[in-house]
Amino acid sequence: MPDATGLELIAGELRDAEGADVVTDTLFFRDRATLSVQPTHIRAVLAHLRTKGYTFLASLHGVDYYPHEPRLGVCYELLDMASVDRITVKLRVASDTPEVESVTEDWPTADHQEREVYDMFGVVFRGHRDLRRILMPEDYEGHPQRRDFPIGGEPVIFTFNERDALGSSE
């Protein structure tokens, strides 16, 4: 892990290279380094970190910070295999315009994981070649991992209630 000073150095370098407002926050918590960045610059930030040795994208996942705004978050867990060092890059987008640039071109591993975040949280990854639902059925409505999406409440369809559940089309 980069220590707290190392994290500030990386943040400073990023501010110099990409603009002063790129890094919105740094956090060093339980020996883990986290960089919060502007969603518009995510590709540039990840490309910069790649030159610093973080060449492996271990995980990409979504978070919902409901009821805080900007509500939806995407985390990128980067790993430097040579020095066994991890850093987390985070961004936040508002739920009415949940758009982030896709990183699949630089990191092919993000393909399925971005689809999962889109499926579960409704974050749209611009530039993803095949942004479809991955775990939920194609015709599913809503994004189930959002915090305001209710648990349960979906009727199980049996013969006796299929007419009510599916509407009067039959």
Partner: protein, 418 residues
């Protein structure tokens, strides 16, 4: 004349015959036609309910698209509605062959958030169970993979050994699968009398069993022809696709979190990381088989070096007090009541905790908002990420090799779909 007869007679075979004639004259070009084949989800060789949309040119695979989600049960969503200690049983059911690893990743993340120290004895007990689980998972993989290649007896041999491991799990926790043995702060109970002897007996026997399996398959011409040199992929491509675990090690990259970034006292043990050279199906097979020997070594070292001490943290805000204290101590009773009704409160924060599962990097991301239920639990499941390597591996290979590759990929659909 009936309606059916009229319809039957209206069908002419003319155009079809002409087509066939053209094809036979065209020679080799006549087989250039592409065929899209649906493979699965209910097919024994897909190791669960994986569905593949395969585009074939003759016998050669030109494209593969995995379609998943058939066993999606929303465990990550369910976990948000349960207090931390009740999340463990649901999270164990994700990757159903490596339940100890799922629990370990989750408990590790929560322990990091709370900043609680796990006693040394608990760490060693965890290592014993993790490594037994790794052997068990590899045995299921070996048995079913051999089954895919047509070797049926292998399956029975592997499941014989797996039974012994499940018996050990039953002894320590009362359950054979989804044991809920790992708790936040340690393990639920110390190992019972007799466990150590039984485990010692198993560990003494296991290497000779793996010898037998290895000899049986290594000396089999059919297995070798199916595996050797088929569907290789270099380490660089694997890394860009996020592939970890035995698949990456088979390609020559010795990345193993147990060595690289030791957690749970793995740095106390002496073991090797088996790696391959060519990165083909044979190396994937050989790597996993070799890993079983190493797991036996780690488990025996942990058993012989098992330190004395508590099996779970003594922090009463995290772990339940021992039963006998409840009769005499008011404070213990209050702690027990608070833990069972509300559960532990975890300080707000976000943590990603990666461990080395039998299939690669299993990371658990937990976000806490300060309440007694997690605000977000996400598993970075290695099967889910590794599945993306299917297409680059099998493109240009025969469809029979695709079955072998799928077996060597070792995808667990419970983990992929969660």
């Amino acid at each position: 004349m009936s309606e059916y007869r009229r319809r039957e007679q209206s069908i002419t075979l003319g155009p079809l015959h002409e087509q066939l004639d053209e094809q036979s004259e065209g020679g080799a070009e006549s087989t250039q036609e592409l065929l899209t084949l649906n493979f699965g989800p209910h097919h024994p060789a897909t190791h669960g309910v994986l569905r593949l949309l395969v585009t074939l040119q003759g016998e050669i695979v030109r494209d593969v698209k995995p379609i998943i989600g058939y066993v999606h049960t929303g465990i990550e969503k369910t976990a948000e509605d349960k207090s931390y200690w009740k999340v463990i049983p649901v999270i164990e059911r994700m990757d159903y062959l490596s339940y100890y690893f799922n629990a370990m990743a989750f408990c590790g993340a929560v322990e990091t958030l709370i900043d609680v120290e796990v006693p040394k004895r608990a760490q060693y007990l965890r290592v014993i169970h993790l490594e037994l689980n790794r052997i068990m998972s590899h045995l299921v993989w070996l048995g079913t993979s051999a089954l895919d290649l047509g070797a049926i007896s292998m399956f029975w041999y592997c499941f014989r050994e797996r039974e012994k491991i499940l018996d050990l799990f039953e002894m320590s926790s009362g359950q054979r699968m989804h044991t809920r043995y790992f708790q936040v702060g340690g393990v639920i109970e110390d190992i019972p009398p007799g466990f150590a002897e039984k485990l010692r007996g198993f560990l003494a026997e296991m290497p000779s069993r793996v010898d037998q399996y290895r000899d049986m398959l290594n000396g089999n011409e059919i297995v070798l022809q199916r595996l050797r040199g088929t569907c290789p992929l270099d380490a660089e491509t694997l890394l860009s696709l996020g592939v970890t675990g035995p698949l990456l090690r088979a390609a020559g990259n010795p990345w193993d979190l147990r060595k690289a970034d030791p957690y749970c006292s793995y740095d106390d043990f002496d073991f090797k990381i088996p790696i391959g050279t060519a990165g083909d199906n044979y190396d994937r097979f050989a790597c996993r088989v070799a890993e079983m020997y190493e797991s036996v070594k780690i488990a025996s070292q942990a058993l012989e070096g098992l330190p004395e001490g508590p099996h779970i943290t003594e922090d009463r805000k995290v772990a339940l007090p021992p039963r006998h204290e409840l009769a005499t101590s008011m404070e213990a009773l209050i702690h027990h009541f608070k833990l069972v009704t509300e559960g532990m409160r975890v300080p707000p924060g976000e943590v990603y905790f990666p461990i080395e599962s039998p299939r690669g990097e299993l990371g658990c991301f937990v976000r806490s908002d300060g309440s007694s239920k997690p605000a977000r639990v996400h598993m970075r499941d290695p099967s889910f990420v590794n599945l993306q390597a299917t297409s680059p591996m099998v493109k240009g290979a025969y469809i029979a090799d695709m079955i072998a590759t799928l077996a060597m990929l070792d995808p667990i659909l419970g983990g992929i779909d969660r």
